[in-house]
Symmetry: C2
């Protein structure tokens, strides 16, 4: 900072504006949270109108001319420290993002995504791919047109990737994904050819009390370090994490009566997102630094707590007894090892969101590759469904009996740009293993700690090396600082080979 | 409406602006609802900041200069129909209310009420009346100063009364209240001297399952006609009703394990407020007509469903059996008549919010009279506590052992102007009986219908005569249209005499 009073006043203006934007977005998050949790059905139309009004207010605030002048003035300053410089760069990026798209295009996109989404909600159950083709063609055009306003990205795909995974490029991601894909395909083949563990206590007519399921998941994430004084868990159809304010980071889950692992791992997953947000340094909240840095890093934290911790043998050593005690009728005679194995069943399936840890990334990678082909003009929308089928055959040896479980299955392409929607999931998986390997080097007793429900050391390490930084570093900088090396798939592959080789008695 | 296109454009501008104001207020209501229901404790500070920001946005919107111009233009139009004219008059009143107070005064009031409220939260438990005197003296000064900006009200009290009970004056209310008070004091004396009914099944160590209590209350208000597709009930410390949107009218309640009547009558009370809001004509929503017309009329609806319906003998004839079935252990041997009598116990008490139907109004009237003396300068704040004690002695024959249960008991005077806070409660009670008497004349089978849980005719009559009009008529016009006569205490006194004379075997 500086002694000069006017420059300080500019900086204070900037901080005040940032705080207001953050507060408005928190209000918007509350509207969305309520919409998914408690809003009565007849309220939907009025709520949509409220959300549209708030969006316009946020847009007006984000593109305010006086704020733009403040950003210009501050950009000319030579006395900002690195934290301030980074805040300013992110603010500038958000400002350009909000301002550079012509209003007519923004309006057309909003209208088109709305119409496309509505059409998808009936086209999917009706398996009507042909009906979606013209809409998706227009979506692709709009996707490319919006990107053309950001000529600093030579590849339009990079514009979308940069928006959610700052600094990454389609080419670099394609390289990492292709390395991973080459190894995963035979790995999945070997594992799915082996004998499945027992899962008779999951699904079917098994009954697990809903309240006990919820209480168990909440107990585990309280142990993990999720702070219930600054958050809560509610029920929704699709689980999510949301920031409603500085100290208000909520999660949601869903519960299946026959499968307690569904709610449990959903809760563990969202708690990872939430602990990341809860761990951001307080002085960054309300500034451009006050959030997770990218979709990939965010997903790395949800996957770390869900999979690397929650699907480990040590986890079930820690919790198996209490889990059986919560559901004594169903789980009589089910051992910790049975629970561990049932939590890690690998099955080739058509649906991404139902996929296990091992096959999940193939679903993502093939979508990423299809996006890349579409954006480059090498694949026409009308050929997308066939290309989808071919990709599933090649990667998973499966063919969808209908488009409903094929190209129409995910909402992402039918609710926004046909780009940048999926890569974060697999980037997150790769990062999660690289970060966990670094944590393990720093915490040699980690496995023993987990087996005693002792998560303080791991949570503390993540808070110190990932969470507190918010958006201070780019994702690549953050990963390199935390793990000592650039992002690569090696740790992730080693983790998968070790775990599934042991589980299925294979030499992978 | 008119053929001329520009005037229509002005009217459309007006409607759009009104709709946006209404939507912003709905968002504000959601923030408040969440704050009282589900918000995690650490989120309080951030939520206050969000609410302050939204208040500023609403104020800016409500006082927008372009909107003011539109109001001016429309005021010069000779072609508006009566509904439009009334919309415009209410909009003008809100506009002046938002704009005429100097910003410095608004800021000082907000700051002072905040400080006073905080002081009250500790002064009350510590019984520290002396510490509150200087703050309340300043509150009184600010109360008078704000009113001075509305010289159209010769009596500052009228400015505050008009804000919540449009068109009523302190003098007219004082007259009605004084008539009521003169009759109530001996009535309360006679009833409280009589033998109390049995209440051994309420309070003490009795245990009523909380979920069953909630389910029972919800079943009753569903029968009443509260629409759960456009509302819901949640738990809060202080029950309330709130409009979050056109079709989103929520209520809250609280539950005591030992006293199921507390939750039940709280739910019935709030459902009355909510059915009023749910019954407003759809075309008025989002306009200045889209809400209940006054605090008195609102309270008349909550009291009608709580007391005149819910505390009737017919109500317990309808629900007694199911109520016993919900709590069979505690209520074995308790008759419908026992339930009716226990719901109508009269006890002189110090606390307004615990008061029964008969004594309640004395609490209100003495507060109204004290406000009136303070505002007229006939009573100094430093003498208020003594005046309070004297009023309780005169009206209820009680003296508070400490200020905590005396002058410090209600938040109202310590959280805003020292005026207009209480009269609506008793106006509502008086109106409820006058309206109910009119409904009974129109529905000769009303008692029999209630005894069969058949509330459609009553709900329909109220919807037709009260609810659908929103703010179209002033409270006095509405009462006169619905009941055929101006507001007077006669029906209310007749109701009380008839009911309590019968209950306590007295000739009242």
């Amino acid at each position: 900072m500086t002694d000069n009073s006017r420059p300080d006043a500019d900086w204070q203006d900037f901080l005040r504006h940032s705080q207001q934007l953050s507060d408005l977005r928190g209000i918007d998050a509350l509207l969305g949270w309520d919409q998914s949790t408690y809003q009565p059905p007849a309220a939907a139309e009025g709520r949509s109108r409220q959300m549209a009004l708030l969006s316009r207010l946020i847009h007006a605030h984000a593109t305010d001319a006086g704020y733009g002048n403040t950003l210009d003035t501050l950009a000319g300053r030579g006395d900002l420290d690195p934290v301030q410089t980074r805040m300013l760069a992110l603010a500038r990026k958000d400002f350009e993002q909000s301002r550079r798209l012509p209003e007519a295009l923004v309006g057309e996109m909003a209208e088109h995504w709305g119409r496309t989404y509505t059409a998808w909600t009936t086209a999917r159950p009706e398996n009507d791919w042909a009906g979606m083709v013209p809409l998706l063609e227009r979506s692709l055009d709009l996707t490319l047109e919006a990107a053309s306003h950001f000529p600093e990205f030579a590849d339009p795909h990079d514009y979308y990737i940069d928006a959610s995974d700052e600094g990454m490029s389609a080419e670099a991601i394609a390289q990492v994904f292709s390395d991973l894909q080459r190894e995963l395909v035979p790995l999945v083949q070997a594992v799915t050819a082996a004998q499945e563990p027992r899962t008779d206590f999951i699904g079917g007519a098994n009954h697990y009390d809903v309240q006990r399921q919820l209480a168990f998941g909440e107990r585990v994430i309280r142990d993990y370090g999720y702070d219930f004084t600054a958050g809560r868990q509610d029920l929704t159809h699709h689980p999510f994490m949301t920031r409603l304010g500085d100290a208000d980071i909520r999660i949601t889950t869903r519960v299946q009566e026959a499968d307690p692992l569904d709610a449990l791992y959903s809760t563990l997953h969202e708690s990872g997102h939430a602990m990341y947000e809860q761990g951001i340094a307080p002085q960054y909240l309300g500034t451009p630094l006050g959030g997770g840095v990218s979709s990939g890093v965010h997903e790395s934290q949800s996957r770390l707590w869900e999979n690397l911790v929650g699907r480990s043998r040590e986890f079930w050593a820690a919790y198996g007894e209490d889990f059986r005690a919560a559901f004594p009728q169903v789980l009589a005679g089910v051992s910790d090892e049975d629970l561990y194995r049932a939590s890690n069943v690998v099955r080739r399936s058509l649906i991404r969101t139902d996929a296990d840890e091992l096959t999940y990334n193939l679903h993502v990678i093939l979508r990423f590759n299809l996006e890349r082909e579409l954006l480059a003009g090498r694949l026409a929308v009308r050929d997308l469904a066939d290309a989808w089928q071919a990709a599933y055959r090649d990667n998973l040896g499966l063919e969808a009996p209908s488009h409903k479980d094929g190209v129409l299955q995910d909402v992402h392409w039918f609710f926004g740009p046909v780009a940048g929607a999926f890569q974060g999931y697999t980037l997150g998986n790769i990062m999660s293993a690289q970060i966990y390997a670094a944590a393990r080097r720093a915490l040699p007793e980690l496995d023993a700690q987990i087996a005693r429900c002792e998560f303080g050391p791991l949570h503390g390490w993540l808070r110190e090396n990932i969470y507190r930084h918010g958006r201070l570093y780019t994702p690549s900088e953050l990963i390199e600082r935390a793990t000592g090396k650039p992002l690569e798939a090696a740790d992730y592959l080693a983790y998968l080979r070790g775990k599934y080789g042991d589980l299925y008695g294979l030499k992978l």
